[in-house]
Symmetry: C2
Subunit: 917 residues, 2 copies
């Protein structure tokens, strides 16, 4: 690791702090500027200096104090860009791309930042970014997740201590703009965190009686523990050292714990502790939803008890008001000092906040430990007599003491995490973010989720954005799970299978056949897309037409097929998977209109992934004709349905055909459709996003960039201007290019040829360039797709886009949306890009294929893949790809790299050399 800086004194200060063993080189820019590269503009200096050392910028950290300097360094591909905010420009520095912004170099904990790709550290408290940090420090176990909120604060403008249970929704009635609506939300459950302090008779911490002198929050990704070190002080200058650790147990899905160790610094006396549960919670995490009803819990009851010295218990029961889901919490607070259990909890109640107050005396330097353990259960759990008995049993079953809870939690987490670890030789920062993405994927979706009939929530269990709904994100998430935890992937597809009834109803209601999956799905699989979208820029409510995205069902069918390919789970295919594929094929077959004029089938009135086009100009919400992505993927699903019906043979397939009444004529129709769907083109063989796209106007991108800076949400900008995105050649996100992401260039070209469209590689390149230039990246998924597409033809640019994709949530690049939840599809997508695009991994009908395209910034990549019953360790270097199968008795698998094919047995290793490719 190299440090390069042009910031005043930064290099010298750090060097003098004895960091010689952290950095291989320290380039102090001010000095360098004078001596070596005088005349160059300062912002370019560190890059220049690093280049001279012939070290990849990704392996260097830079410290900059100007916005332009940060921007330049970000563009230069530095591993870590630190901004120094000497004049309150934190926001601008962050917007410019700084990975970390500090007010002084001394605040930088270089050791943590640089050397630990498994630690996400936040120094100090920053009210403007607290929501963002809460979301990114959420800990969960796929059943329950709790935002990384400070336990002393209740929900308000700055803090939002939300906790969520996977799959727990409730619908409330609201009136907005005189429109009545019933809106289903993932429910914020009672807050189990509350823990407040005061010294003597002073004010409570929550009320300002104590203030933070320093604070560091560390999310340890390798242990899945969030810790917080703080120094508190009251008005009289008395200090308390505070250490908090929390976990949501990966070993026991119903369990979470918060340990607080308090040590008086240099004084002895009385302190009070208040520990309890806030039942007075609403869904208030999303500003745009402020006008909707928000109180999802009814019949809330709480019962407090004192269960011995230093131990107080609380049980809370509530029921969601319309879905009727019972939720119970059993909470135990145990206080102990040097001499064992301490104090006696006095029950108190303040509105919905039920607490026990402990009055204690403490001695200087002697730590006092408060352990809160909570068990949460809901009526959706299996194997319970009631939520309350289940919560009580889970609490009773929990081992005593944080250390024991932590030990089993860590052991379970290690087992879950291990196969997901991807090691890059990129900067620590890139590695950290990739690890963070793996982490949050596995806080949201785990083996525990597999028991819950829950889907893939677009915003994790990390906040209330998108109301906790399920979109098409599984298209980006399941490839990662299929190849590591296929039993979970199966259950996530089964979330869709269980909602085939609602999807069939929706198709019937639309006069169609088969199954019409909703764009936004919640509890029962009915359409949950809101009808209106609030534009904070204009103050208008805009119609939300995104439900016209019929392509979500294509993603579901694709995922069902991919799970089968990865596992050869034939029982599931015939019992569940093929039902999905058949019913999606039926939907699109019934939507397809034949035009004798071109002897082609057309899909009319739909939207593609690009939500900025809802209809032709002048017809917003009218949908578009022949969205290329939808048409080609529909053809792909038709082809897949035919393949299953013809190639999977046996009594079980006969039974399936009998069950679904699949006829030979129907299969023939799919076969025909798979070859005769229409695909629009314009120019010299450029695939048109939809029929009519070519006739749209070009946008003056430069004008909008100049006028607005960030122009990702062009929909809101243009609406506020009285204009519409429907008029322009632009896209919110990858749309045509999604075809390249999903199918890969080779397969796409072959598939188009089969459909009767000869597209050359050069034409495909022109298509890529055309859309790359016209995409606003208004969705975090967009850069994922683009990075993947670029990996196939422009590896260097791919890395830059990949880095931007990595930064999406960490830097909250979508303009503050991360505070209401991570973007799970984008997080998983970055993991997927590494394996799908950099390693070129594809699961095909007979083999595991690799087509490595390592970006120049990477020289090595290590990851594991489960394929059928084998666990394969993959090590990719510039000149070789090594695949090692774990020992065992599983059947051999075929691995293919280009023309090389190897049948790999358990315990075997094979090295594919580049020269052979």
């Amino acid at each position: 690791m190299v440090l390069a800086t042009s910031a005043r004194n930064a290099g010298a200060l750090l060097a003098s702090a004895g960091l010689g063993d952290v950095f291989d080189h320290v380039i102090d820019g001010q000095t360098a500027l004078d001596r070596d590269v005088a005349g160059k503009p300062a912002p370019a200096l560190p890059l220049e200096a690093v280049r001279r050392l012939e070290i990849p910028p990704a392996r260097a950290m830079v410290i900059e104090e100007s916005v332009t300097g940060v921007e330049a360094c970000r563009r230069g591909g530095f591993g870590l860009v630190v901004g120094i905010d000497r004049d309150g420009r934190r926001d601008r520095l962050e917007a410019a791309g700084a990975d970390v912004v500090v007010e002084d170099v001394s605040q930088l904990d270089i050791g943590l930042v640089i050397t630990h790709p498994w630690l996400l550290v936040y120094e100090g408290f920053d009210p403007a970014h607290e929501g963002h940090r809460e979301a990114l420090t959420t800990v969960g176990n796929g059943y329950l997740a709790t935002r990384g909120a400070a336990p002393e604060h209740r929900a308000g403008a700055v803090h939002y201590p939300g906790s969520y249970l996977a799959g727990v929704y409730n619908s409330l009635h609201s009136v907005v703009l005189d429109q009545e609506s019933d809106d289903e939300h993932m429910v914020n459950i009672p807050d189990w965190l509350p823990l407040d302090l005061r010294i003597g008779d002073g004010g409570w911490w929550s009320a300002g009686g104590l203030s933070l002198r320093s604070e560091r929050r560390t999310l340890d990704l390798k242990r899945a523990v969030l810790s917080r070190e703080a120094l508190l002080e009251d008005d009289a200058g008395r200090q308390l050292r505070l250490l908090q650790r929390r976990l949501v147990s990966m070993a026991r899905p119903n369990l979470a714990a918060l340990e607080t160790v308090i040590t008086p610094v240099g004084w002895s006396g009385g302190i009070s502790i208040r520990s309890g549960c806030d039942t007075d919670v609403t869904n208030s995490n999303v500003p745009e939803d402020a006008s909707l009803s928000s109180r999802h819990l009814g019949s809330v009851t709480a019962a407090a008890s004192v269960d011995g010295p230093g131990i107080a218990c609380l049980t809370v029961e509530a029921r969601t008001v319309t879905s009727g889901i019972g939720i119970a919490l059993a909470l135990r607070t145990a206080v102990s000092g040097a001499d064992g259990p301490a104090g006696s909890g006095i029950p108190e109640q303040l509105g919905g906040l039920h607490t026990h107050r402990f009055e204690l005396s403490v001695n200087a330097g002697e730590p006092l430990t408060v352990l809160k353990t909570v068990a949460v259960a809901s009526s959706r759990d299996h194997a319970i007599a009631s939520p309350l008995t289940a919560a009580r049993a889970a609490l009773a079953r929990a081992p005593g003491g944080f250390a024991a809870l932590l030990a089993e939690h860590e052991a379970a987490w290690e087992i879950l995490l291990e196969p997901f670890i991807i090691e890059l030789d990129a900067s620590s920062q890139a590695q950290l973010i990739l690890n963070l993405h793996v982490f949050h994927l596995l806080q949201t979706l785990t083996t525990h989720t597999a028991e819950l009939d829950a889907g893939v929530p677009a915003r994790g269990l990390h906040g209330e954005g998108y109301r906790g709904h399920i979109f098409w994100d599984e298209l980006f998430v399941l490839p990662v799970l299929n190849s590591r935890l296929p039993s979970l992937a199966r259950e996530l597809v089964d979330y869709r299978w269980r909602r085939l009834g609602a999807a069939r109803d929706a198709a019937r209601a639309a006069g169609l056949k088969g199954a019409l999956f909703p764009w936004q799905s919640g509890s029962d699989g009915t359409e949950q897309t809101p009808k209106l979208l609030f534009n904070r820029r204009s103050g208008h409510w805009m119609p939300d037409y995104s439900r016209l995205q019929r392509h979500v069902g294509l993603a579901v069918a694709y995922n069902a097929w991919q799970y089968f390919e990865a596992t050869q789970d034939r029982g599931w295919l015939t019992e569940h998977g093929a039902e999905i594929i058949v019913d999606v094929a039926r939907l699109f077959a019934s939507m397809a209109e034949f035009d004798p004029a071109d002897d082609r089938f057309h899909l009319r009135g739909v939207m593609g992934p690009d939500e900025y086009h809802t209809g032709n100009p002048g017809d917003p919400g009218g949908g578009l004709n022949d969205n290329a992505y939808t048409n080609v993927m529909a053809a792909w699903v038709f082809d897949q349905a035919v393949w299953i019906m013809h190639s999977v043979r046996g009594f079980d397939m006969q039974e399936l055909r009998a069950r679904l009444l699949v006829t030979a004529a129907e299969i023939e129709a799919w076969e025909h459709l798979s070859r005769r769907m229409f695909v629009p083109f314009h120019g010299d063989g450029i695939i048109s996003q939809f029929d009519g796209y070519a006739a749209l106007r070009e946008l003056d991108w430069e004008h909008y960039r100049r006028s607005y800076g960030l122009i990702e949400r062009l929909d809101l900008i243009l609406e506020a201007e009285g204009d519409s995105t429907n008029h322009y050649r632009l896209a919110k996100q990858a749309d045509v290019l999604m075809l390249l992401y999903v199918l890969g260039e080779d397969q796409l070209i072959r598939f188009l040829a089969r459909m009767g469209y000869a597209v050359t590689s050069a034409q495909m390149a022109a298509t890529v360039d055309f859309y790359l230039a016209r995409t606003a990246h208004g969705s975090t998924l967009s850069r994922v797709a683009h990075a993947s597409v670029l990996a196939q033809r422009d590896p260097e640019r791919a890395w830059a886009v990949f880095r931007e994709a990595l930064d999406a949530d960490l830097d909250d690049t979508q303009g503050g949306t991360t505070s209401s939840g991570i973007h799970l599809g984008a997080m998983a997508g970055t993991i997927d890009v590494v394996q799908r695009s950099f390693a070129g991994l594809r699961i095909t009908r007979d083999a595991l294929d690799f087509a490595p395209r390592l970006p120049v910034e990477l020289s090595r990549l290590d990851f594991q893949v489960r394929y059928r019953d084998q666990l394969l360790a993959v090590q990719l270097e510039r000149d070789r790809l090594t695949v090692s199968a774990a020992p065992g008795d599983a059947a051999p698998v075929l691995v293919r790299v280009g023309t090389q094919r190897v049948l790999l047995k358990a315990g075997q290793e094979h090295e594919f050399l580049r020269k052979d490719r």
Copy 2:
């Protein structure tokens, strides 16, 4: 089919009725008596006559009028024994073993009885047997089941219209004998059947205003439809012909329907129809539970609406009072006559009975149709927004008209049923009962059950016996499912897996390790065995010690292993199955006490399957030492656990070992235990049921048979006498012999040898004889095990015992218990005996083994087996066994008959000839 009778005129009457084409021979006993076998006692005559024809008695039907005649014919093995009750001795004739009792030969619908092995027919109404018939005509779909009760009657002394949802339990507090208890019951949900009639202003049918002139109820097993033809008459002699059909939809788990067609016979005028739902239901099906609390539903609300001409709707919501499960019903009544929809429903309420009354005028000969369609949902369902929205959606989704409901129901039922059909060339009666057993197995457990986290309820969903609890019956049920519907078998084992937490708690609470599964399991897997058992004979409450049956966990582990053997589902083994096996092994390892004196391990203080021994004499409830069944099966589980740990290799097994912290030392200890468990013997190598059994007194069986007639419940008899079953060499049911049932003789002898016990085949024969002579058959499972054991050494006797096992529920041989539910283990057990014992099918580690032992009464047996991914049609004849694999692309499987082994590919057939064996 032959008819033989010594009853006066019976033969002549039947023959004169033109039944020449039904019977190959008609032997009129009275005639025969005079001419052929004069001097022989009459009861033996038909048997004698049939023997002369050299036709197996199983292929003959006999009509007898004396109790001794019926008894003799039953012993003689006739296919169908008809009793003629000329003097009110129906009960005695039935007790003596009559298959059908009629008052007059003309009541016999020979066509139905003899020629339709798929029709269960009840002629006329018999209040004494109504509960029994309700249970046996229950229709269900594995999610919902409804007893075959008459819709016009509410629950009372005679009628009990119960409906149950799989896995829906509730616990209530009761005080019995000053003992407080919380008892969990499967909940009787609101009754959706009520449908009442009256003519003009006359009294309602339910109140006696109409009376039944004739009635026939037919359960069509092939269509899963219960129909009822009746002729009603009012005091004025006006008649109504009534045809009712009902189904619980196999196509849509939440749906059921009851169609009623009413036709006035020779008159026109007004009629009233009342249709609705009875919400005022309790759990009152079991007389012994009468002193327990019984109201499980709270917050019941109902809402009526009229939805157009002739259509009335009702929604009902309720919540179980302690488990908090929401239950909703949406019910639609549609009335139509010749001119379309008829009448308008007027909402009425009588207590908890919510109905719509339709006032209609009818014309002679013109049918009026009333279709009730109900959708039921509960908060335990997946993919719902709430029970009420789910019930409404399911009702809205239902096709209109009974014909359409029936068509999709029949199609789904055919697909489910088909692989379970077993064809015997035994009497139609035997075939009918076997079909009935298949039927009720598949009303209780279906693909829909697989979604419910429900176990195998001992009494089906057919009544409230055993409170709907889960015992060890899956030991008898899963072999049938494993080999036909393995995905369901897996979910039923997962019911246990999900309750490992409770089982681990129970072990911990008992000072043991591993998992202690409860003897009776309900919602959450805690022990639900009642502490008291009411003895109606003595009027005493007796302590119930059956929870000492630790062996239930051995059955769970055995089933987990068998599922893996049948499917090779390795993912499930490492994620779920092995967890069960390891934790059961751990339990028994921690229970085992080492005695250096004999260098053996002992299990103390347990009960075996025989519930009549709860402790040594003088120590009831103290448990027994070294129950042979428990000790040997524990050794088997130890061996299996070792095998898994050593032989299943791979990363996933490593992960499992890490997750469960399995150490090499632990595996070594299991290996040692598997060889050194103690097995008690007495006499010349007879396995003792437990240590100390040999010292017990012999029972004077003849005395008790003389004194009490039926002596199956010796426990109640002896308790009433102030004595105890603990004092005697007797058994409620197979205990030692269960080892032979589960493991088979060869494997058992080999396994004992491995344990250091040399047991010869002759000694095993002596063991069998010893226990056969001392078993009271107080459990329906007993005859199943005995038939299986006898098949291996005494095929002729096996068939007789098998026939007795078949008759258990149809004839209600357990003294009236069938009215509170079928005996699912015994029903499935008879199916299992056919494949396990008659065909000798066993699933071993590498092959599907057959060791046919066809009883002399059978010359042919046809069934299907799913093994791994193949579907095999098995045809067994005296001299050959033919196995045909269905076409397809599944991998070949190894089939073994004796020393012959064939690797059978999909689409292939192989004939194993007897001479080669």
